[in-house]
Amino acid sequence: MNEDNGRYQPLSYFQLMEISLRELLVEKGVLTDEQVRATVDDMRSRGAERGASVVARAWTDPQFKARLLADGTKACQELGLDVPALRLIAVDNTPAVHNVIVCTLCSCYPRMLLGLPPEWYKSRPYRSRAVREPRAVLAEFGLAIPDHVQVRVHDSTADMRYIVLPMRPGGTEGWSEERLAGIVTRDCMIGVAVPKAA
């Protein structure tokens, strides 16, 4: 049985499959319980701060920004951020273009830069509506995109992962990279919010 908000629910098919497979792998000596725990811990402790440091560097170093847009994976490696087994594409918000990321097929997400995806990112309503009526979805996140700005939705359907490079807000002149990183939230890098100086 599975404890959910204090109420016991029967396990779903996939929960049962996950537990069975994990227990078998441990029993056969492929993995240890300690390795499973450490991996879960590592995934959970990762947040969006890595992505924020990439954005802050791009805001303060135009040459880094150019390299990031040309090859996201390589540029992250410069910062000591390893993005294994997949290719990172950074998409640039400009006064003329606003970018949003979704994975309509499952929940592909740049975990190595943003940590675990939020529940809403994996939900069917976000996945289906972000490609169909992105402006209405953004409005529900409190983000109104003017009509003259192109909304560009990126569906992560295969081997690429995406991060939105938001525009640096006014009022942040002279800020340190660290202070800038502090205003770059996860949602800004998915594209459902924009950074604010205040």
């Binding site: 490609v131 192109q150 909304v151």
Partner: protein
Amino acid sequence: MKQTAQPSFRPGDRVAVRKAWPLGHIRTPHYIRGQVGSIERVCGSFPVPEELAQQRNGLPAQPLYRVRFLQRDVWPDYQGGANDALEVEIFQHWLDPA
């Protein structure tokens, strides 16, 4: 057998997504099948997911493209700017010249 198929398309080329409904693990979303867009960039070549899902090696690797579509082409009743766009990763074997 060659391990990587040659790219047939270049940025700017007009392409049509195949209108096919095979069973299996397909990374081409249903909503985009049959639509016409243009190549935004070539992403490199990757083993074919339909084959990987069957525990085969997925070779020769197929070129993967980012294809840009106009929202108003994909959804006739789209509410929003005329230039609003949708970019989707699509493998070469799912694309025909348009």
